[in-house]
Symmetry: C2
Subunit: 754 residues, 2 copies
């Protein structure tokens, strides 16, 4: 048996030293926190201080016998580690002092160390041979506060909508037959329309609230009910209704908008063709103006020119059809025309053929179909003519003279839909994360030989690393998309080009994030995640296509990258490509000079957790990729290679830039949001999520940063370790974090999440 010969002062520090030396991650700055505290601690004698400081030397760690002695001292004490104590390790130290020396007060200096170093019971509880009083979740934070922060200005709309969703018609149900499923979803959409949710983004004259941002929040909530519902809702109110609102003029608004918003008039958005998805400008459906009858003739010329994958095609009475508008034999480019599809009895009009697209991986509650037009005539008034009209004299006229600009202005109205698609993918990811976390807090598997109970799978490091960075990303993307929707809806900003570039990139990275997160959650729930009753499966099938529709991600990222390239041109007040490059190069080389080897290998926590480091790293990457991209394109063009071919050759580079730009944008937006939070405690939690997001992203691009010499090997390893450590630090709060998503209880019906 060991004789305890430690003095009371030293005794109290033993649990801390034991924990510190069991973990190899302590950095110089963290050690200095401890040194400082020891020097200040009035409970300690000079001799005790000297002894403790000696044990802090990283180059000369305490001898192993000492280490074992500490361990035994703790074990022999038979004290308990109570995780729900506010400062568990300091309280343990106090109990240790009490056991061996009697009356020992709570030491605020130790508390200071525990707080500053963020030492959590789950870091060290396995180290002690003492009874551990576990807690699954810390009570430090309240999920309702997080939820309120995420709801922001939409609290009233969101809260009442959550209540509204609490009715039988929205309860989960497995409907395998597509007709049954579609009918149910149609009923849900009509109900939402009747209660004003469809018209949320329309002007009040047409039954709306003029509140596009709240519409976005509502859209995301529908993902908690059913992906098919969200998509059919988006098609009816966002795409079809939205096309009338944004591309039509007062006449169209008066005739159709209110009925579109209540779902009295069901419509579809017929843009994509079998042969033309991403290349919208190349669609082949024609809309030829016939001066004699003052009509427009809609026609599908060839085999692959039918409209394809049109949502709501089987239920709709009318369609917004995109076609090449031909007036007096001249092609005026792509325009949208309202074309009635069916009569009151729901019979398809002559000249129109509609076919069901059949079963899909997901979204089987949405009636997608193909549509053919054979010389179908509609009145001239059916042209949605905000950006291009046919005068009474039968002449084409447009407020935007440049056909290229006109085309992109019309397509710009899709940006709101892209934000919603990203919100939808985010909603799917949140739901899957909440289910996976709750399962991991119930499910146990494997144990130490000495323990009776198996371990919670949430306490496995691999499991923490699987789920926690995705939770951090969900917070970051939520805040970013809210901000994007605010800018997009800001009528005072007329030039939407910047937001288009931003949304193109964000839609891509967030829908991919949604898919990979849902997949990770499926696997993290094992076989249980594979059962449809546990709600991850349908979400997986539904969100899958979000990477493709409203713009294929690969194509959108190239669009974003091209936007960045031209942004730079604008930024430097374009005196031509060459001078832009020159400026970019100067900027980069200036920055480069600040990157010395010390910086490239700075690994202390203060630095790695500093938003300045993250922002610098992201900005450096975006700038550098832009510069090298511009250089490569210039070189090709100098050699006489056509621009189209030059862009083909740098496709993978474009995609890397598009991603880098989007990640930087998301992080900066989130950082600004964090700065606005008043409550310091919640602010620090949300900042920690931002730090995890940033380090996880830098970690995933570490190879590139290493190649550039921006970080060295040591820093690269330190970043990886910090990601793991942050996940562990957030472990006590993980349930509160997913509860903070605010998913209504009545939507969380998965048996494994109970």
């Amino acid at each position: 048996m060991i004789v305890v010969d430690y003095s009371p002062g030293i005794l109290q520090y033993i649990p801390f030293f034991y924990v510190i030396w069991s973990d190899d991650l302590l950095s110089a700055s963290e050690i200095s926190v401890i040194q400082k505290t020891i020097n200040d601690d009035t409970h300690l004698s000079e001799n005790e201080k000297e002894q403790l400081l000696e044990w802090l030397d990283r180059n000369n760690p305490p001898p192993e016998d000492e280490f074992k002695n500490w361990k035994q001292t703790i074990s022999n004490s038979k004290i308990k580690l109570i995780e729900s104590d506010t400062y568990p390790l300091t309280s343990l130290s106090q109990r240790l002092g009490n056991t061996y020396c009697g009356e020992c007060e709570f030491n605020d200096y130790l508390k200071n160390i525990e707080l500053n170093l963020g030492i959590q019971p789950n870091h060290y509880n396995h180290l002690f041979d003492v009874e551990v009083v576990h807690e699954k979740t810390s009570k430090q934070y309240d999920a309702r506060v997080l939820d309120a922060l995420l709801k922001g200005q939409h609290t009233a709309s969101v809260d009442s909508f959550r209540d509204f969703l609490n009715q039988d018609v929205f309860n989960g149900q497995v409907l395998r037959n597509k007709e049954d499923y579609r009918n149910r979803v149609l009923k849900q959409v009509s109900l939402l329309g009747k209660h004003g949710y469809g018209a949320y983004a329309y002007p009040s004259e047409y039954g709306g609230k003029g509140n596009m941002p709240a519409y976005g929040a509502i859209f995301e909530h529908l993902m908690f009910v059913d992906g098919s519902l969200a998509v059919k809702f988006g098609v009816q109110f966002g795409l079809f209704g939205g096309s009338i609102q944004k591309l039509g003029t007062k006449r169209h608004h008066d005739l159709y908008l209110e009925d579109a918003g209540t779902a009295e008039l069901l419509g579809c958005f017929a843009m994509t063709e079998t042969g033309h998805g991403s290349n919208v400008r190349g669609i082949r459906t024609t809309a030829t103006y016939d001066r004699e009858t003052d009509e427009i003739v809609i026609h599908t010329p060839g085999k692959n020119d039918n409209k394809e994958y049109i949502g709501n095609a089987l239920h709709s009475k009318i369609a917004t059809v995109f076609a090449q508008l031909i007036v007096d034999g001249k092609n005026e480019g792509v325009h949208a025309i309202l074309v009635p599809l069916r009569n009151e009895k729901h019979e398809v009009f002559d000249g129109i053929t509609i076919e069901d697209n059949g079963y899909k991986i997901g979204l089987n509650g949405v009636d997608n179909g193909k549509i053919w037009f054979n010389q179908v005539r509609v009145p001239r008034a059916n042209l949605l003519d905000k950006y291009g009209s046919i005068t009474d004299k039968g002449e084409y006229s447009s407020p935007i003279k440049n056909p290229n600009k006109r085309f992109f202005t019309m397509l710009g109205t899709l940006v709101g839909g892209r934000i919603c698609v990203a919100r939808g993918a985010l909603g799917g990811a949140k739901m899957a994360l909440a289910i996976a976390v709750k399962h991991a807090l119930n499910r146990r598997q494997f144990n130490d030989n000495v323990k009776i109970q198996e371990d919670l799978i949430m306490d496995y490091p691999t499991h923490q690393v699987r789920l926690t960075p995705a939770i951090a990303s969900a917070y970051v993307y939520h805040v970013t998309l809210e901000e994007m929707m605010q800018s997009y809806s800001d009528e005072s900003q007329t030039d939407k080009r910047e937001i288009e570039t931003q949304v193109a990139g964000l839609k891509s990275i967030i829908t991919w994030f949604g898919n990979s997160t849902i997949q990770e959650c499926r696997e993290a729930c094992g076989g249980k995640g594979y059962l449809l009753e546990n709600l991850i499966g349908d979400s997986k099938g539904d969100v899958d296509i979000f990477t493709t529709f409203e713009g294929d991600n690969t194509v959108l990222l190239q669009l974003a990258a091209k936007g960045v390239l031209s942004d730079f041109k604008a930024e430097f007040n374009s005196a031509g490509f060459a001078s832009v490059l020159k400026l970019l190069r100067t900027q980069l080389s200036d920055r480069w000079n600040t990157l010395n080897p010390v910086y490239a290998n700075k690994v202390d926590a203060d630095h790695l957790y500093n938003p300045k480091f993250h922002k610098h790293a992201f900005q450096y990457r975006t700038r550098r990729l832009t510069y090298t991209l511009a250089m490569r394109i210039r070189n090709y063009i100098k050699k006489g290679i056509p621009a189209y071919q030059a862009f083909l050759k740098v496709q993978t580079h474009l995609i890397a830039l598009g991603k880098a730009y989007s990640v930087e944008l998301a992080y900066n937006t989130y950082s600004n949001f964090c700065e606005s939070i008043q409550d310091e405690e919640y602010k620090s939690l949300l900042e920690k999520l931002g730090t995890l997001y940033a380090l996880d992203e830098i970690n995933s691009e570490a190879r590139w940063y290493l190649e550039q010499g921006y970080i060295g090997s040591t820093k690269s390893k330190a970043i990886r370790q910090r990601v793991e450590r942050l996940c562990t630090e957030l472990r006590p709060h993980i349930e509160v974090l997913v509860d903070g998503f605010g998913i209504p209880k009545h939507c969380m019906s998965a048996p494994i999440a109970q």
Copy 2:
């Protein structure tokens, strides 16, 4: 107009120089190939040689005017580039010479350059303003030869099985209702059983062919028909029949094996419980021997102790139930017992409760269910007693004294199933790749302004990089799994520990590969990939769970890594952990010395394409990860942290090692296979696939290699570029490569693949 003032000798080289300087990838060694050829070329005068060599200086490239002159010279000639020429660039050169100088012979020196540098028309066809006679696919290789190489010894079995699959009952059909779907799959399984395919791996006495490797190939082919069929087939013949074959003795074989093989007797494999999936040793179902009645009593003790997710549960008459065997009050560990479930009329026996698991993400043609036992009695003879029996005296007896070893020996019989699961995931990936490639060779989108036709999406670099490395991996994994199955089936090898470790790792990386490949193919086919009629969707849903069943990937990779650790112990003739570490360290530091900065930045093609480089890189990674892992564990253990906790702390490290080990194993196995190929032309194609696999894997771990200083920045970038370039080089053969998978035409019914 430009006056051509090039001499005939120089003229011929112009297309080559134009192509070379348009591309920045040429390495020193490639330039030296050209230099050598020029020096040797007897068609050239000394002056011409001098001029050409001057244009080859990388530090002093030809002036831009010269470059433009070359381009104009080619354009003005109006010659055609004919991609189907055997040597298209040399032929183009010849035509150029003919145009300007009359009679010009085919230059074998130029042909030599074209061959050595692997310059392909799709590298450069966009560079010329000349008419290009396109070819979608090169005719250089024959898919049947590739197929024959992959079929190997099983040609006869596979060919006849492919014919067998060509009947209505196996045609694709969307069945959404699970009962209808299950009935159809049951019919298919019975038919396969009746024709001897179920018994393929059983001994001939029981209707089989004793050919487990051919069984594996058959299993993979079922994935081309339907994932549900493959899985139900595997449950009936592999798991249920296999448990009788491998865990039972002659009595059981005589009674059950033939009927199991014909599917006359339907059975299931009841191992997993709701509470225990990965931790099989912790299952709680009990099998208590009752000496009085000489029976075994099967019982489900608690709420989560029911058998869960048992395939074939609703159709089976009998189950192999895994339970804790208790004899005379002593728990002898997990054993398997045959328990009849239903009578002739298909009524469930008293004491047994079976419930449907309901709908899943995929595999809805498989009847998974939960099973509860309430004191169910079976005769002692029902114990599958190869590794543990109860004697007539009612005493427990086993040929394997160590309970730990006994448990793992029993579980070792699952290894064959794991190989099949990996084969299944591979089959799903092959199918998706074949569909995506055929679609990409039909689908066009976007074009240059001057061209009428849009580009094939297969000609987009991003598309090539998405699909080509996966095709290479499919070849590598096919060969590897064939080899694994051969070793596993080799009865002369009694110690199966090594193959267990190997298969644990390979099952994980290959099932993940299957999932990510199918997802990539889905996205590469856009919305069309989302329609079930195009066959990628069901495959995606079915293969998903392959990462979980027959061993969760995360758990299996840890198992593999632990196997590697103990392998090393064995390898060094274990004089204890410390000496192992010492040896490992020496080995690594020896190797380390060979890694000088020159090696770390060697970027010429000879080096990057050399299998020696790949093998060294893979071996270095496995060894280094093993060594650092062992060091970390040792440090924890020295500090008194229990082994279980120490392994928890290094979980992510274990997983990295498990993957690295598996990739190395796959590459080495494939390399050996390539060496055995006789035909040099096919050998070089298959070697190129191996090179792409290796570089793609090193590329994906480049961050780690950079951290280690094993590669430098320049090399890291060169590797990434080489991956892209190899994809482009393989572009002409991509259709032949997917046809080489040998997927029968009657299985490839996806409309987009026609």
